[in-house]
């Protein structure tokens, strides 16, 4: 299952960059959001760490939606959904592959969001870069696990897939709160041990939705 998932992730990443487009839409939207939010402070005024982190995660949350709608659009455009379903791969490996590809694309987007937050929001990265990377990874996994499951529902829905966002955003709230709180803690110099509760919550989110997705994905992604 792992190797077939990796194959699907590789295929999707190649497709994402083949058109020269990649996650450009998600990156641009995120940068735009950071810039627009920077207007909400008077010139020279700094954003608090909490405001900056909240904006960073908002951009990531929007990015996830765009990324997964892109990833599932591939199967629609190329009409490969049926082929994938007929192949001997377990259906779940399709979900895992999409989730991995989405994770890569999201991390790539955040490579742009983070410096943008430094520049426009005056974000102070603190002195624990390893902790920050760990936190971003843990939260991203949760966002992508959920994104891969819900994104599959948008498959074959035409314009209706945009409606799914009204349920995705509220579902993401616990992990976004975790991302914001851990980020603020790390920037203010709290040691990782002091944030164990929040890390536990984020991991619980990752595990719970990964489990749910493994069970439920086969019901969502079926040929007509």
């Amino acid at each position: 299952m792992i190797s077939s998932s990796l194959a699907i992730a590789r295929k999707d990443l190649r497709l994402a960059f083949a058109g020269g487009q990649g996650p450009v839409q998600a990156v641009l939207l995120g940068l735009l959001l950071v810039f627009i939010f920077s207007l909400s402070a008077a010139p020279g005024e700094r954003f608090s760490a909490q405001q900056a982190m909240a904006i960073f995660w908002l951009c990531s949350s929007f990015g996830v939606v765009l990324i997964f709608s892109l990833l599932f659009r591939f199967e629609e455009e190329n009409d490969t959904a049926t082929a994938l379903l007929l192949s001997p791969l377990p259906v779940q490996s399709l979900w895992l592959g999409k989730t991995l590809a989405g994770l890569m694309l999201l991390l790539l987007c955040q490579v742009f969001f983070f410096p943008a937050a430094l520049v426009f929001l005056g974000l102070d990265p603190g002195s624990n870069p390893a902790g920050l990377v760990l936190m971003v990874l843990a939260v991203d996994v949760g966002l992508c696990v959920l994104g891969g499951l819900i994104g599959a529902m948008g498959h074959g829905q035409g314009a209706k897939d945009a409606l799914l966002t009204i349920i995705v955003f509220p579902l993401q709230i616990p992990i976004l709160l975790g991302g914001i709180r851990i980020g603020v803690g790390l920037m203010q110099g709290t040691p990782l041990g002091g944030l164990a509760d929040w890390f536990g919550l984020v991991m619980a989110f990752d595990a719970v939705f990964a489990g749910a997705a493994l069970f439920l994905f086969p019901h969502v992604f079926r040929g007509e």
């Binding site: 529902m153 829905q157 709230i173 616990p174 939705f209 749910a212 969502v220 079926r222």
Partner: protein, 233 residues
């Protein structure tokens, strides 16, 4: 069809029972329960705020159970029941939020404050309101029932995570039921239980009425198809 003939009778009994219980409940609120010492009369909001919040969570749990049954049995009526439960749940949790907000204004001088139970209810209200919008937009086409079921399960799985994260964020809600006895006098407890029961009966009535309506709708659709087939012949 047989079931739809019986429903009106059960419905009438349930509606009558919930009205009677509500009347007793209202009596208990206004005359039986004593005035709370620190918060005064405003504390009486509690007697309908709490049942509304409780039954809305029962409704959301019902959505999850029905959704599991959809995936398990594939029967259409479970899908209908999930939608009905979500609707009543959104109504109840919406009312719990409004009354909670008014209570907060009276007790803490603020319309809205961050509190685990309040915030969890708000997030759930958003999730299930979104779920209802998706239902009415008919997302999913032929696979719709299964997709709605998956959403119904995923939404409920989120509840404990939302609550935990909201509690870690911070809390000022009065822990009415956490400490033993909770500082409530016996007469207050009677009022609480009668009202929980009354709202439960109303909840059942509304769910059944809405479910009955969904049955009617199906009958209309079936008759339309039959007529269409006849005219085509």
């Amino acid at each position: 069809m047989g079931m739809f003939r019986i429903y009106p009778k059960i419905l009438m009994i349930l509606a009558g029972a919930s009205m009677a219980l509500m009347a007793v409940g209202q009596y208990a609120i206004w005359y039986h329960a004593p005035e709370e010492l620190t918060m005064g009369l405003v504390q009486k909001i509690f007697y309908f705020h709490l049942p509304l919040a409780w039954w809305s969570f029962v409704a959301f749990f019902g959505v999850c159970v029905s959704s599991v049954m959809v995936l398990w049995t594939g029967r259409e009526h479970w899908d209908v029941l999930a939608g009905v439960m979500a609707e009543v749940g959104v109504l109840f949790s919406g009312l719990a939020l409004v009354t909670g907000s008014i209570w907060g204004r009276a007790a803490w001088n603020t319309w809205w404050t961050w509190d685990p139970r309040l915030s969890t209810t708000l997030v759930m209200w958003f999730v299930y309101a979104g779920y209802l919008v998706l239902r009415s937009a008919d997302v999913g086409g032929t696979k719709g029932a299964k997709m709605r079921a998956v959403l119904g399960i995923v939404a409920f799985v989120d509840v404990p995570l939302v609550f935990l994260s909201a509690r870690l964020w911070r809390s000022i809600h009065p822990a009415v039921l956490a400490s033993k006895g909770g500082g409530l006098e016996p007469e207050m407890w009677t009022a609480v239980w009668i009202n929980v029961l009354a709202w439960g009966a109303l909840f059942a009535t509304l769910v059944l009425a809405r479910y009955h309506g969904a049955g009617l709708k199906r009958r209309v659709e079936a008759a339309l198809i039959r007529i269409q087939e006849k005219t085509l012949q």
